[in-house]
Subunit: 580 residues, 2 copies
């Protein structure tokens, strides 16, 4: 095989599409890149398997996923200009193996491959019967399980590699943390299905036949024939982790599964995802793709583009773009205070160092209280840091207020021509302070299609948009689930008493979109906005879903806002809409 200059073919380093572990060949290829022997790593068609046994290891704090000492198949650290071309390969990962880490790198390109796992981190059971006291379920061979001491336990169906001892069972298990029903015909969250949380300690069960169990849990929101999905207890294994990097291009990549978010980017800049698909594998044996958001951007800068993407049936939103708030938990002196990361999945995602420019934020009202430059920090642990600033805090800043990195979460965002459907929860959660353009997309989300979030009392996610254009999109029967009060919605955590004065989100233009709506919720459900125009939009009323209470909602619910211009949408018939 003639080697193209600068190209490292993993197949020349021992990788074979025969079920053997590809991890050592990838390590050898990355070592060759480090030695300057090339900047492009290639695969070819076929299935390549990756096992955790010999994988790189690092303790990672990954925002909105779960921290931990992780095994990583492709550890792309301090790489500049690396390209990995899968050549159409299917990458299959085994156990708790993170596919990709891009850390401290620039101009990294990944393309032309798909990702799946030998055993998904979630499990899916078909509902055979349901009563107020229990649910009867049937599992296929894709979701091995045992009833152990009367408790349902998901396994990988294999015997332990190491012998059980006093101290370990030596086996791989798949703990679950919540339940949600999906509709196997429509391939989406079941109509108005509710999550059941707090099952992380297990659920009592007993066998009722081959691969059939009776789950002893009352009042589950599901119907016979639906698929009850057991979400993993933790988000331990995201698909692609991008951290402290810039210039990442993901092109023609399909993520069939991972045990966390599909692509999570934090403290990074210039992220371009083209024809990124998050979708279950073909074959119909799985309704869920990734077990959390398809994509997610935290404290990112520069530019974010997602074009021609498909995000379907993942067990959380298509994307979320936001910053981080740390709560002020103690003030030692006007120039010295303690901040805490409150949300467990932000712990360790440090964003304050000497030189950081802090935005000071009033907790309950989400209004700006000024800025401060950080002189030094003393990190106590992943939760708490003591911060010393130049000058002093404004007097209005008190314990309970919060700080954000004023220069992060500033990315310009373009989301164009993407399809988002069938997932749990919402569509786009937009919180970047940079200019945002959302155009030509199709949404069929069970909650709000577009949500303006942000709060510093619960999730501690910084948001508050400054300039958003939403145009030429189709909102196709959104809000068939429980997550949301409008198709385009503000959900920012501004305390009721401050909504009349806070203007957390600003300058939102909604133009020339088509809303296909069955009328359960308003098209707009907004508050505390400064600058809103709703013009040139079309509305097609549908009967595709029932109205739970028989009542059609009003179209607009906009309160506590300034400079609002709403044009009634033109109404179109179904035929006209399809034709147009």
């Amino acid at each position: 095989v003639a080697r193209e200059a600068g190209v490292i073919d993993v197949r020349e380093l021992g990788a074979k599409p025969d079920g053997s572990d590809t991890t050592p060949s990838v390590r050898a290829a990355l070592e060759a890149v480090r030695k300057g022997e090339g900047s492009k790593i290639t695969f070819g068609p076929g299935r390549y398997d990756f096992y955790p046994d010999r994988a790189f290891e690092e303790y990672l704090f990954v925002s909105n996923n779960d921290e931990g000492l992780k095994r990583i198949a492709f550890p792309l650290k301090e790489m500049d200009g690396l390209e990995i071309d899968g050549g159409g390969a299917t990458f299959v990962f085994h156990g708790y193996t993170v596919p990709f880490l891009i850390s401290g790198s620039s101009q990294v390109k990944l393309r032309n491959f798909s990702v799946d796992f030998s055993r998904p981190f979630h499990s899916e059971g078909k509902v055979l019967a349901i009563t107020p006291q229990h649910v009867d379920l049937e599992f296929t061979e894709h979701y091995p399980f045992e009833i152990r001491n009367g408790v349902l336990v998901f396994t990988n169906g294999k015997k332990a590699k190491t012998k059980a001892t006093t101290v370990t069972s030596g086996e791989v298990v798949y703990p679950y943390g919540s339940l949600l029903a999906f509709d196997p015909i429509k391939q989406e969250t079941a109509f108005m299905a509710k999550d059941r949380y707090q099952v992380g300690a297990g659920i009592a069960a007993h066998p009722i036949g081959p691969n059939r169990i009776r789950l002893r849990i009352p009042n589950i929101s599901a119907r016979v024939g639906e698929i009850l999905v057991f979400s993993p207890k933790n988000r331990d294994v995201p698909g692609v982790i991008v951290t402290d990097s810039s210039g990442v291009r993901l092109t023609d990549i399909t993520l069939h599964h991972c045990g966390g978010m599909g692509v999570i980017a934090q403290r990074s800049a210039d992220l371009f995802y083209t024809r990124l698909k998050v979708t279950p594998p073909s074959g119909g044996h799985r309704i869920i793709s990734t077990t959390a958001d398809a994509t997610h951007f935290v404290n990112c800068r520069g530019r974010i583009e997602m074009v021609d993407c498909l995000f379907e049936q993942q067990k959380d939103d298509p994307t979320n773009v936001h910053g981080l708030y740390a709560k002020i938990t103690h003030i030692f002196a006007p120039n010295r205070f303690e901040v805490s990361m409150i949300h467990p999945q932000q712990a360790g995602v440090d964003f304050i160092g000497a030189g950081t420019r802090l935005e000071l934020n009033d907790g309950p009202s989400l209004t700006e209280e000024g800025f401060a430059n950080v002189k030094s920090v003393e990190r106590l642990n992943k939760h708490r840091t003591i911060v010393e600033i130049e000058g002093t805090l404004p007097e209005s800043v008190t314990v309970g207020d919060s700080v954000a990195d004023a220069d992060a979460n500033t990315a310009e965002v373009l989301i164009r021509n993407c399809v988002m459907r069938g997932n749990r929860a919402r569509g786009l959660l937009l919180g970047s302070r940079g200019k945002i353009v959302i155009e030509g997309n199709t949404f069929h989300t069970p909650g709000a299609a577009i949500l303006f979030e942000g709060d510093s009392r619960f999730w501690f996610e910084q948001a508050g948009v400054r300039d958003v254009v939403i145009r030429g999109n189709t909102f196709d029967n959104c809000n068939y689930g429980v997550w949301g009060t409008g198709t385009i919605q503000v959900g920012s955590g501004i305390a009721e008493e401050f909504r009349s004065t806070s203007r957390y989100n600003r300058n939102i233009r909604i133009e020339n979109n088509l809303f296909r709506s069955f009328g359960r919720v308003p098209l707009l459900s907004l508050y505390s906005v400064d600058g809103l125009t709703f013009t040139g939009n079309r509305l097609e009323k549908t009967t595709d879903y029932p109205l739970p209470d028989g009542q059609e909602s009003k179209l607009f619910d906009v309160t506590d806002s300034d400079d609002v211009k709403i044009e009634e949408p033109s109404t179109v018939s179904e035929e006209a809409a399809v034709g147009g």
Copy 2:
């Protein structure tokens, strides 16, 4: 308060015995030590509380305990000559807080305090009734619990600090991993009680009254009135972790509890424990002290002394002195091979670096195959390392053999005048290659009082003693439990077919001891020993425990050994023994 030169009183730095968090004062005191302001930190009488919130944090691999990102109240790192004098204080730790870490330090002294936890990591339930199908239990307020989705869950009885979200319950829970019955009258493991393992996924249960539950688990080895102890699933919170340090003196310290081993020392030298007590708190509300071994020494050198200690009712052995074996899992070339840490609780406890002298060990026979000097290592992850040696491996070395650090696990050991009783399992597991003296101790252990272990097929603990004297001890009705085939026993993992040739343990002298025995097992149960003398010992037969099968055992079961000299013990009556 006049400050003694070089003495830092935490009470002058804000510490108060009033329930407030002492951690910040300890941090300030250690900072003062680092600045050279003193080398002794003092407390005084009273209860000082320690919370995880502001504690130091580090990811620790702790041999025979569980690795993890731990909070540590007293992080004694790179300290030389530090002394901490508790002045009679009681230190009470909350949640997952490791009391002491001594790392990279020399000549550290700790003295005069006791350690307890606000909520123990294990739980104890009184057996009300038992059938082949279930156990009825009653818990006191010391062991808060809930039945959640039909599964028993232990909690701290407090509401979550953070609100529950999709991703976390925000609460502190205490997972359990095994069950064992204890006798509340005798304050020891219940007679011949067996562990029930593999309950880490939880056990189905339902309430049968206030603080009473019916545990739906069959065939539990317990009787009405006994205490069923739920061991923590992991050993996450040892009491004192000593790593890579030398010259550690623990004097007049009482450990009432911790969630792991009491004092675990690894890769360290010169460890002196005087009047170290591991014992439950007074008051009778708890039968268990520490949830694993009282003390443990891994790959230690220099000298180990334990004098005038009390180790009782901990949920594993009083001590274990051993090395580590890594298994050869791949040979790339005669000078290059992969080794793996097989036992999960040895993962990450690295002991091979450039310059390490390796002992090469035949796996199944535990015989030496030579030595090799390490040229370089490439650590893949916590489990696997690729080793390059100077020269080549002997041809007899194959995959499946193992390596140890030939210059570690060499400590001289003195254990004198200690009392060991009521714990789970065995007494002293002796495996140091240095000279060992065990004298004047009293053993009342449910398994073997002294065990010579070591294997490279299961636990991967290097042992194989070279020179042991056991004299003047009282073995008081040992072997009232299931762990062991003799009061002094070899349990080394030598494959049957190699026992006639392997001589893993050598030169054991057993002199002038008193054996009080009810006759269930031999006094000696040994194989593959080179050099054994048993002289001047006395035997008193007791009827303190029943003989399960009515049969009295023979006194000696010694096979496959060389140079054995056994003198029949003189028999003494009960009165004479008490008088003598």
